[in-house]
Amino acid sequence: MAVIEAQGVSKRFLLRHNAAVELKVRFLALLHPAKRQSLEEFWALKQVSLRIERGDAIGLVGRNGSGKSTFLKVIAGIHRPTTGRLLVADGARICSMIELGVGFHPELSGRENVFLSASIHGLSRVEIERIYERVVEYSGLQHFIDVPIKNYSSGMYMRLGFAIAANLEPDVLLLDEIFAVGDADFQQRCVETVNSFIAQGKTIVFVSHSPSAIRSICKRVCVLEHGELIFDGDVEAGLGFYDDLLAGRAPAAVTDRL
């Protein structure tokens, strides 16, 4: 059963170099209809169609600027597709961990930030109170939970952020390279948590540049290049395909499912 279905999703960004220029351009456009299209367009995603089944663990790979993060944000509902449609299963909770410690305010204590951050992800007070103990235990910050987080080390900050994300009980979890920041211990912990999600039948979409992280989590790999989906299939084949792409030996789209 599909949880997420992208139907020909394209996303266009208008590059505005300077707001003052833009005002001038708009004014000129009133006088010269021909100049109306002078804003620079950039298509971050082009006609991406992808069906994600419940329980899938998909690794999104691609060079910097290939549209991975944009696609993740479209799935998360942060960006709206310019054309095409992005469908999600009714009632599925999609949590994006594009950044750790979303909405944290340095002056607030750890406890207050847990409540704030969890409510940004749409949890009700009852739900937050239910997961609160688990979050604190997972983060291992029992002694510091009432200290303003401006006094936290960056490691503590990340641990708290990840502890919240790990306990949001999502149906679909979107991860964007967040493991890259922590030490080996932290990364190990993250991979274990994500694997336990998969064991529970949750759906993961994971953006990473690390082949080892992809191998340890994903069952399926999608390669994006210049906003187009050029490979969709098995992990090893996908990583091999991506290596070839990086080395410039672009193989003629040998894809499983395309």
Binding site: L87, A89, S96, E107, S119, I120, G122, R125
Partner: protein, 410 residues
């Protein structure tokens, strides 16, 4: 499914009826009910000019042509303002201004704009709701969540689902404001208290204003003005200062400006709940039945302020200049609102102008309730209700219309 807009001829008829009604209302506002009969000849002779002028303005500005997005909003405003100005000029040249009220033209233009945008706005919101249900029924168990937040009902229900976030955002601001200060919450009471002392010295002893309750009058207006002005100022940053949040989580964006309004409302209520009873005791203001209407006008003011906040938050993401413009605008608006002076002391022909200042209806209503202890007059009701609904509808359609673009602008 609803058509994208009502047919052109139907729209024109609707606008024409609206223009005629509004003209009558403007005259009623200008001359109050007791004297309006004497001015009926003036109404009948100007109505055709105004209706024709406004409709012509709307047609020329292209308000009836199919336009993308919210283009019509600006065209409607431009069309009505220009149409009214031309009609007023024609009336002046042909009939002369004897027995014709010029300030009624201004009132006419304002209420015509609110009315014309209002019915179109309601149409747009209904259309969005229908589009959404059409989208929903097309898929099997998958839904397109891009269409979810763009309806008023979608916005309402998502605000309800995210009420914990709304509460936490308001609490966060309240906590942060006083955290670390020794007197904490006492400051939100100390500031108005100092204001009372300063105003008493300034107005009673230096300027020698004789009326005893003047400081009470002043504070009533000042506190509700502060609520509005602070909300407006903070709302300009509500979206752009939270860029990091917008870029990493999906949540109803309207929460951000609404939270700033509620934060200021919380502060206003805290202050008022202490100061209003205290000042009423101090200045021995007797209780009166009209005071029961306070929550009604406060609710109207909150609606109005939320509408303005949604508009400013969206506007600032596209044009940062709005922040600076607002600073100047607020200081002009402060003097256009009867806070430091009394509306009844304003020259009679200017009273309507002052009453139509954006925040004036609310402030005047509080004065009527607490200082004059009388039921709010019809013109105050009309202005307060139409400003509240007008601002809310415009704020909602602008915010919903541009919500998907906010992300790309922050």
């Amino acid at each position: 499914m609803l058509p994208r807009r009502p047919g052109r001829s139907m729209s024109i008829v609707l606008d024409g009826l609206l223009a005629a009604t509004v003209n009558l209302a403007a005259y009623w506002l200008r001359f109050r009910s007791d004297r309006v009969v004497a001015f009926f000849p003036g109404v009948w002779s100007t109505t055709p000019f105004l209706v024709a002028g406004q409709l012509a303005g709307l047609v020329i500005a292209g308000a009836y042509d199919p336009r993308p997005r919210l283009d019509w909003l600006f065209r409607v405003i431009v069309g009505i303002v220009a149409g009214t100005a031309v009609a007023a000029g024609v009336v002046g040249l042909t009939l002369g201004f004897d027995g014709v009220s010029r300030s009624a033209f201004v009132a006419d233009a304002i209420f015509m704009t609110i009315g014309a945008i209002g019915w179109r706005g309601v149409w747009v919101l209904r259309l969005r709701a229908q589009l959404r249900s059409a989208f929903r029924s097309s898929g099997d168990d998958l839904i397109d969540h891009a269409t979810e937040l763009t309806t008023l009902r979608g916005m309402g229900s998502s605000l309800y689902r995210y009420r914990e976030l709304l509460r936490n955002l308001v609490l966060k601001d309240l906590k942060l404001k006083y955290r670390g200060s020794v007197f904490g919450f006492m400051w939100s009471l100390a500031n108005p208290l100092l204001m009372v002392v300063v105003y008493t010295v300034a107005f009673r002893f230096i300027l020698q204003v004789r009326s005893a309750g003047f400081v009470f009058y002043l504070m009533l207006g000042m506190l509700s003005w502060t609520f509005f002005a602070n909300s407006a100022t903070m709302s300009t940053g509500a979206v752009i200062d939270n860029a990091g949040l917008l870029k990493s989580v999906r949540f109803p964006r309207a929460i951000l400006p609404i939270a700033t309004v509620l934060f200021n409302l919380a502060q206003y209520l805290l202050t008022v709940s202490v100061f209003l009873p205290a000042m009423m005791l101090w200045y021995s203001v007797p209780l009166a039945a009209p005071m029961l209407l306070f929550p009604v006008f406060l609710a109207l003011q909150v609606f109005f302020t939320i509408g303005v906040a949604l508009l400013l938050a969206t506007g600032t993401t596209f044009f940062r200049d709005i922040r600076h413009l607002l600073e100047v605008g607020l200081s002009v608006m402060f003097w256009l609102t009867p806070i430091v002076y009394e509306l009844r002391n304003v020259p009679e022909r200017l009273q309507l102008f002052i009453l139509l200042g954006p925040v004036s209806p609310f402030v005047v209503a509080y004065h009527q309730l607490f200082v004059y202890r009388e039921w709010p007059s019809g013109d105050v009701w009309l202005a307060a209700v139409s400003y509240a609904l007008g601002a809310f509808v415009v704020g909602a359609i602008v915010f919903l219309g541009f919500e998907d673009q906010l992300m790309e602008q922050v």
